[in-house]
Symmetry: C2
Subunit: 220 residues, 2 copies
Amino acid sequence: MAALKVYGLPMSTCTTRVLTCLHEKQVDEFELVPVDLFASEHKQPPFLSKNPFGQIPALQDGDLTLFESRAITQYIAEKYKDKGTDLLRHQGDLKEAAIVKVWMEVESHRYNPAIQPIIYQFFVAPLCGTTPDQSIIDANVEKFGKVLDIYEERLGNTKYLAGDYYTLADLHHLPYTYYLMKTPYATLIESRPKVKAWWEGISSGPAFVKVSEHMKFGEN
Amino acid sequence: MAALKVYGLPMSTCTTRVLTCLHEKQVDEFELVPVDLFASEHKQPPFLSKNPFGQIPALQDGDLTLFESRAITQYIAEKYKDKGTDLLRHQGDLKEAAIVKVWMEVESHRYNPAIQPIIYQFFVAPLCGTTPDQSIIDANVEKFGKVLDIYEERLGNTKYLAGDYYTLADLHHLPYTYYLMKTPYATLIESRPKVKAWWEGISSGPAFVKVSEHMKFGEN
């Protein structure tokens, strides 16, 4: 029996955030338990007891149940701190760890709120039978561009967001950016040399390459 | 000379998140350095070197500069882990700390995105000379109510969000909720007994009472 159970789907952005973290920490003893979104399994009692907000993923580790992908990745990074990449800079000083937190917060409060609606309109709206709202896309493309201008400057000083080492702050960006690169808005990344080099670096690591092979949302 | 410098304003939501944390950790050796938003000081080079996104607050601790209020609170909670309240459950096991992270993420990704636009429209829009957009308020009141329904259930099981102990997960909710309680939308909190009791508990602690005396935004 696998020690860890991840409830989610292999093409889901937030599930892949967790799966990439598991691979990065060289944790093999986990099982991915699929959740049938089309049958609304995530909105019914067995799943709601794992996450009352009814969204994937959730993590089960013995008697511990966690949700929110970024809380799960932090738990994995803490629990397996002696394996794989030091994603939270435990071995560094308190200051290094604090800078990782800063850029994790930037992803949550700046990057994600701008990129998420673009991905939603482009991939999810058509699946729900609605036409993508171009005005929402346009507004968020503008907002996202401004965020990326600051990333471009930051990545001129350090190789990764929190310093010259890869951390959870970078990892958290992978899923949405991966899908963005399949849209015409990939130019937002490609037109900024430092951001482009950062993206190519973080997306080509073996952990994410393995996970992204299954990220086929919107391809049919 | 104060060891820590907080760049911000005493009525700003995100600044008060940091100040409350400092008081909760019984840290007295800090200085609040005001930032003149009306003169756009936060959008000019000296401040931008502290936070490239041009928003308050920022923290200076010797040669370390941090921004994003929730990253700053985590740093303070880590640095002063032996003082005041154990806001991250360091003394607990890894599982307790993980549950704190879950509810910190819930605040960031569920609670804040719904309450923030209500506060913005109600308090900030008039200050910018625009009429509050009632349709934005209405949509977010509905969204926020659904989030609070889940809080109501959660707080039926545990006294605070992460368990029977007060943590950063609760603290992070204080500033926006405090301003919400000054609006007609306070009924969203008051109509839910468990949420109401939780709010009354967390907002009446000495750390926040001290900070909230200066939260007079929108009062003239």
